[in-house]
């Protein structure tokens, strides 16, 4: 590396530095650091999780401790205050770190906790404000939904080639929205995933609609995920929109997963293959959801956390029927082998499957652009509410 400006070594200004260790900005910097951190956590007798590479687990007679790592941010959790203090002190002996005490913020999530009520509020309000300012949308007209009800974007015409300016602008809007969506805003998941399909060649129309989502954030900057505990069961809602993509006829899968009352996981995605019926689309969607349940189960086992009941709910009786019964009727014959994985999960009783009426469905908004009334109902069912500062 060249010598830094203002600190050239007198008489050796032609020489360069050979780097023995990583420095900020180097391509391999993050990895090099992560390897060191990994080693020192193993030395402190933590076990590395297989289901999430950022999680380290310690257990002994005094209790359980979990250490979550995201580059240089650490989150420490334990059911024993003594154990947490002991391990933290040992860690601080090896690493120079700011000890920030009881959690208030992690990965840009603002965290407010009420220990008496055992509740928690999570939001990204400061980041949302930053996004609004960046795109100069602080004082725009309010909108009630992320995208207009039933809106269907269309791909750019064949001869259209997006200018680098619009492409860059578009990608930056979608990037900011993705971060908020993945963090604490399931209500924009469908809209963001939909619009992110046009990243490669966005038109002016696409940009306007992506900014519509930003406007929606501007109209609802105070929405926060509210955790209030409840039973320690995992309730998963699966839904699909058959042939929802008007151009390709692909269907959309969506799910929302609750730990007790708390929404912890959500996803919206366009299915990779065409479904021939709404039953098939729903069946595929339930498979996506099942994979996520299996992963959560593994994570909890590794962390020594007990979770008793696993439920999946769908609103398509036909799909539930083929999942629960070894039927092989003509119309379901073609469903790809990999999707029979769902039937196997049910046979092994990894989770139970049950019917939920459409009006109690909690994953509707993951699969389509709803009308305001339905959107609002669904949003309330996610415990996504305004926070009081």
């Amino acid at each position: 590396m060249e010598q830094p400006e203002g600190f050239k070594v007198p008489g050796s200004s032609n020489k360069v530095y050979r780097l023995l260790r990583a420095l900020y900005g180097l391509k391999q910097a993050a990895l090099a650091w992560n390897k060191e951190l990994h080693k020192s956590l193993l030395k402190l007798n933590f076990k590395h999780s297989k289901s999430d590479p950022g999680v380290y687990i310690f257990q002994d007679k005094s209790g359980i401790m979990l250490f979550i790592v995201y580059v240089d941010d650490g989150l420490l959790m334990s059911n024993s205050a003594k154990l947490l203090k002991k391990k933290k002190t040992a860690f601080l002996n090896v690493w120079e770190a700011h000890d920030m005490g009881p959690v208030k913020e992690y990965l840009g999530f603002q965290i407010t906790r009420n220990r008496v009520k055992r509740s928690m509020v999570l939001h990204q309000h400061p980041y949302v404000l930053k996004v609004l300012k960046h795109f100069q949308m602080e004082n725009v007209k309010h909108v009630r939904t992320p995208l207009p009800a039933g809106y269907q974007p269309s791909t750019a015409p064949k001869d259209y080639n997006a200018s680098p300016t619009i492409r860059q602008w578009y990608q930056s809007v979608i990037g900011s929205l993705l971060f908020v969506m993945l963090g604490t805003r399931p209500d924009i998941a469908f809209a963001v995933i939909k619009m992110s399909q046009f990243m490669a060649n966005p038109t002016e129309e696409h940009l306007q609609k992506a900014l519509h989502i930003v406007k929606y954030l501007g109209s609802t900057p105070n929405l926060a995920l509210h955790f209030s505990g409840g039973a320690s069961s995992l309730d998963c809602y699966s839904d699909s929109d058959w042939a929802g993509d008007s151009e390709t006829q692909h269907s959309t899968s969506g799910y929302t997963i609750f730990l007790g009352n708390d929404l912890v996981s959500w996803r919206s995605r366009r299915q990779p293959t065409v479904a021939l019926s709404s039953t098939e689309a729903e069946y595929m969607s339930m498979c996506d959801c099942a994979q996520q349940i299996l992963w959560i189960k593994l994570l909890f086992q590794e962390c020594h956390l007990s979770l008793q009941h696993f439920m999946m709910f769908g609103d398509n009786k036909g799909a539930i029927h083929i999942a629960q019964n070894p039927v092989m009727e003509g119309w379901s014959k073609h469903i790809s082998i990999k999707y029979y994985f769902l039937r196997e999960c049910i046979e092994k009783q990894i989770f139970m499957l049950d019917y939920v009426p459409t009006d109690q469905q909690k994953a509707d908004m993951m699969t389509k652009n709803l009308t305001w009334q339905k959107f609002q109902d669904n949003r309330l069912r996610l415990n996504l509410l305004e926070f009081k500062s």
Partner: protein
């Protein structure tokens, strides 16, 4: 004038921190290699501290010549929400920390 001195001081501290950790040694540049450039990043912290950080311009590195492995595993947001929800229900202790001069350790 006062500020300039503080920035100079901050740079000196950063260089000292780098040298204390034996991050580099001064050598002649091998004839077939091009040194990576670096620059200073300055930040005034909320608590009034002046922080200077020396940053390598990693984008000028060439894959296979200057580096090979880069992937660094990170946690999923879902994991954070799942565990927070569970431990909050069960009234566990939750604390956070932020490791300093993170990349100097590798």
């Amino acid at each position: 004038m006062e500020e300039q001195k503080k920035w100079e001081q901050a740079c000196k501290e950063e260089i000292k921190s780098i040298e204390d950790r034996n991050v580099w040694t001064l050598v002649d540049c091998p004839p077939d290699r091009k040194p990576v450039k670096c620059h200073w990043v300055f930040a005034k912290k909320l608590d009034g501290r002046f922080k200077a950080r020396l940053v390598a311009k990693g984008f000028s590195q060439i894959y296979g010549e200057d580096y090979d492995e880069t992937f660094s595993p990170v946690t999923h947001f879902e994991t954070v929400r799942l565990l927070l929800a569970y431990v909050c229900q069960n009234d566990w202790e939750i604390e956070s920390l932020d490791v300093k001069t993170a990349f100097l350790y590798g």
